[in-house]
């Protein structure tokens, strides 16, 4: 015994600690915070009356974005464009003659923190509407808070659908405005064998259920479906499987850094965009630079906005954003969608002539805005918006260029009820309004 056993014991302890830190990271904190959120929610069950103060000449709105933690990189950009929208509106006379005052909260990349901060914004800071959220888990954590307090959340991200809360407006794409057009494009290009690769969490899993249903109904075949743990950087086996699967296109729903490792492996294994193109659902202008444009050049993306869109509203948006935040900053779909959501709220309020949540909701249907992505229109029934879909190709200038666009804005259909091939999907999820997954 002696030295060896001491070293061994130390080793075991190191392993245990490293494992807890590396893998379970925020495990303990989250459960406690969640419990607190639950306690609070049962305590304040009765207080659904709004405390929004509309007597002065300002009106408060809340932003909840992750300004720290792993999601901060992405969510900071959304917070920036939200601020820009508010500044523009204030410079233009405000909403119903009132200047907008921003209350910014940090969601800290933790779903439970999002719920807690949303509650603070609504109940303590008395904001008229909240903008923000990024991950589906942050939205799902906030949803009960907004429903219980009858408040308004504007959620900017494209997402997996199968949800439609009366208290949330979804300004990002529903699956039929992003995933379905991407598949339509692949089908049109004659691709028949799809390989699916994604990070192991709610968006890729649900998105791929849609892909599989689509493939089955449209004479395509899914030849492989692989998920990696979040942050995973080993793609040898997955790329091997991809090469041997006979796939002629890849549908990519990987998140963050995993994309870098995946595309490096893909390229270094001799695959290329002209033989087996990859269409990505979460690579926007921001990500292209950090993945390395050499690794993703000529690959495809599916979004509802690119910085390169050629219309006067977008030119103004890009110009103002760069003037405010720096020439090197690109604009991307989530940022544009967040920016648009502030204007949609303004228009709803002006149509309702009130900041009252129920009146705003009642006025929402049919509200339009000439957004940088093209004209958008709110669907009052499911609270999503009509959006044009664009398939883009990544250029060597690190920007994404449109290669295909839908015939005008597509009506939002979060449950894919209007698609024959999706019957099995909507049947299995129609009972669980937003509470599933």
């Amino acid at each position: 015994m002696g030295r060896t056993s001491l070293a061994l014991r130390a080793g075991a302890a190191a392993l245990a600690v490293a494992a807890i830190m590396g893998l379970g990271g925020c495990g303990w904190g989250r459960t406690v915070a969640e419990k607190e959120a639950l306690d609070k929610s049962s305590a304040s069950n009765a207080s659904a009356t709004s405390c929004v103060d509309t007597s002065g000449n300002t009106i408060k709105v809340g932003f909840v974005n992750s300004l720290s933690g792993t999601m901060a990189i992405s969510e900071k950009t959304v917070s920036d464009s939200l601020h820009m929208a508010v500044d523009e509106i204030n410079a233009d006379g405000g909403v119903l003659g009132k200047q907008i005052q921003i209350e910014q909260q940090d969601g800290k990349s933790e779903p439970a923190t999002f719920a807690e901060k949303a509650r603070t914004l609504i109940e303590k800071q008395c904001v008229a509407a909240v903008f923000g959220g990024w991950t589906s888990s942050s939205r799902k954590a906030m949803l009960p808070v907004f429903e219980e307090d009858n408040a308004l959340l504007f959620y900017p991200l494209q997402y997996e659908g199968m949800e439609s809360s009366p208290n949330i407006f979804y300004s990002g794409a529903a699956p039929n405005q992003q995933i379905v057009p991407a598949l339509d494009y692949l089908k049109e290009q004659g691709h028949k064998k799809l390989f699916l690769v994604g990070s192991d969490y709610v968006f890729p899993q649900t998105a791929n259920r849609v892909v599989k249903a689509y493939a089955e109904g449209n004479g395509m075949e899914v030849v492989g479906e692989e998920y990696t743990p979040m942050g995973s950087t080993d793609f040898t086996t997955i790329v091997n499987k991809l090469k041997f699967s006979g796939a002629d296109a890849v549908v990519n729903t990987l998140n963050g850094d995993s994309n870098v490792a995946f595309f490096k492996e893909y390229k270094a294994s001799g695959l290329s965009a002209d033989k087996v193109p990859v269409i990505s659902m979460s690579i926007a202008e921001e990500e292209v630079a950090s993945i390395g444009v050499d690794n993703v050049k000529d690959q495809l993306t599916a979004w509802n906005y690119y910085q390169t869109l050629d219309n006067p509203e977008n030119k103004k948006f890009v110009k103002n954003f760069k003037a405010k935040y720096g020439e090197s900053r690109p604009t991307s779909d989530p940022m544009e969608s967040a920016y648009t959501s502030v204007y949609l709220w303004k228009k709803m309020v002006e149509k309702a002539k009130s900041f009252d949540v129920d009146k705003v909701k009642a006025a929402a249907d049919g509200v339009t805005f000439d957004a940088p992505e093209g004209q958008v229109k709110v669907d009052g029934k499911n609270h999503h918006i009509y959006k044009t879909s664009y398939i883009g190709k990544i250029g060597s200038d690190k920007l994404i260029h449109t290669v295909w666009k839908s015939d005008g804005p597509i009506a939002p259909d979060p449950y894919l009820k209007t698609y024959d091939w999706a019957k099995s999907l909507s049947a299995s999820t129609s009972g669980s309004d937003g509470s599933g997954e």
Binding site: G2, R3, T4, L6, A7, L8, A10, G11, A12, A13, A14, L15, V17, A18, A19, M21, G22, L23, A72, I73, D200, E226, Y227, T228, P229, G231, S232, T233, D234, T236, T237, I238, N240, K241, K243, F244, D257, N259, V260, A261, K264, E265, K267, A268, S269, G270, E286, A289, S290, I291, G292, D294, N295
Partner: protein, 294 residues
């Protein structure tokens, strides 16, 4: 369409990555008993060195070669600094080093974030390493072949230093019996510093090499640190041979399990295999036969 061969190659490649990540650790942890949680951040320092070099010189072979040397020195100096400032004061308390170095790793991550930003950066690799090479009719990433060769070279170099040089003898003597080494005229303090410099430097080299495969960001090291410890403990603490065998066994296991299942299952199964293995052989693959009576 036989995936057996490519998967064996993938497994060997995974093994060489594990080995490269664990090699420096097997020196600092194995020989010195320091649980260095900041090992991953030394790798990160190496990765950022590759980025700085490729932005200064351009993505060519010269910049990679230079990055390997500079990365070794940068990470080595960081390690030396850590050893001189903190770890020297806790030689007899290995468990304390665990917490201290974890703190250091957080500090280093924040420093990296402040200098390079929280978004990943992109280092252009030499053209030849972004292409596939063909081995027995199967195309395989050149960067992985390079990493495989580099891992073998590093092991051979470290082995030679430990077995053949006076410094190596001093390192081994210090690790086997510190007091006896001291009375024999070895300055164990100086030997510790050098050992830690080399171990950390190897982490830097690993960082430069692995930046060819991954994104370079402040959390670069966190994806390797757990598996590196796993390799060192499973291999047998203080044994190079054990670390080499353990890396390749675990690498091959991972790609074998991932083939019929998924990446999540494969990562979990590696942990499971090690846990079960240590139940039967807590001393690891290769045990030290020491006459140490302490």
């Amino acid at each position: 369409m036989n995936m057996l061969f490519p998967q064996i190659v993938a497994g060997l490649s995974n093994g060489s990555i594990l080995l490269l990540a664990a090699l420096g650790l097997s020196l600092t942890f194995g020989q010195m008993g320091v649980i260095n949680n900041a090992h991953g951040e030394f790798m990160m320092a190496g990765a950022y060195t590759a980025y700085v070099m490729s932005s200064l010189i351009g993505g060519n072979a010269a910049s990679l070669a230079l990055a390997l040397v500079v990365g070794f020195v940068v990470a080595g100096l960081l390690g030396l600094l850590l050893d001189v400032l903190l770890l020297e004061r806790m030689r007899t308390r290995p468990l304390d080093t665990l917490l201290v170095t974890f703190g250091v790793s957080l500090v280093l991550q924040q420093v990296a974030r402040d200098i390079f930003g929280s978004t990943g950066v992109y280092a252009q690799a030499p053209e030849a390493l972004t292409k596939p090479v063909t081995i027995f009719g199967y195309s395989f990433p050149a960067a992985r072949l390079f990493i495989f060769i580099l891992a073998i070279v590093c092991v051979a170099a470290l082995y030679a230093v430990l077995k053949l040089t006076p410094l190596g003898r001093q390192i081994r003597a210090t690790s086997e019996n510190r007091d006896l080494a001291e009375v024999s005229g070895i300055s164990t303090k100086a030997v510790d510093h050098v050992t830690f410099f080399i171990g950390s430097g190897i982490a830097g080299v690993a960082g430069v090499a692995l930046s060819l495969l991954n994104s370079i960001s402040y959390n670069f090291g966190t994806s390797f640190i757990v598996q590196a410890f796993l390799v060192v403990v499973a291999g047998g603490v203080g044994q190079l041979k054990g670390a080499v065998i353990a890396s390749f066994v675990l690498g091959l296991c991972q790609s074998a399990v991932e083939l019929p299942t998924s990446s999540s299952i494969a990562q979990m199964s590696v942990f499971l295999i090690v846990v079960i293995f240590l139940q039967f052989r807590p001393q690891g693959l290769v045990a030290i036969r020491s006459r140490n009576l302490a």
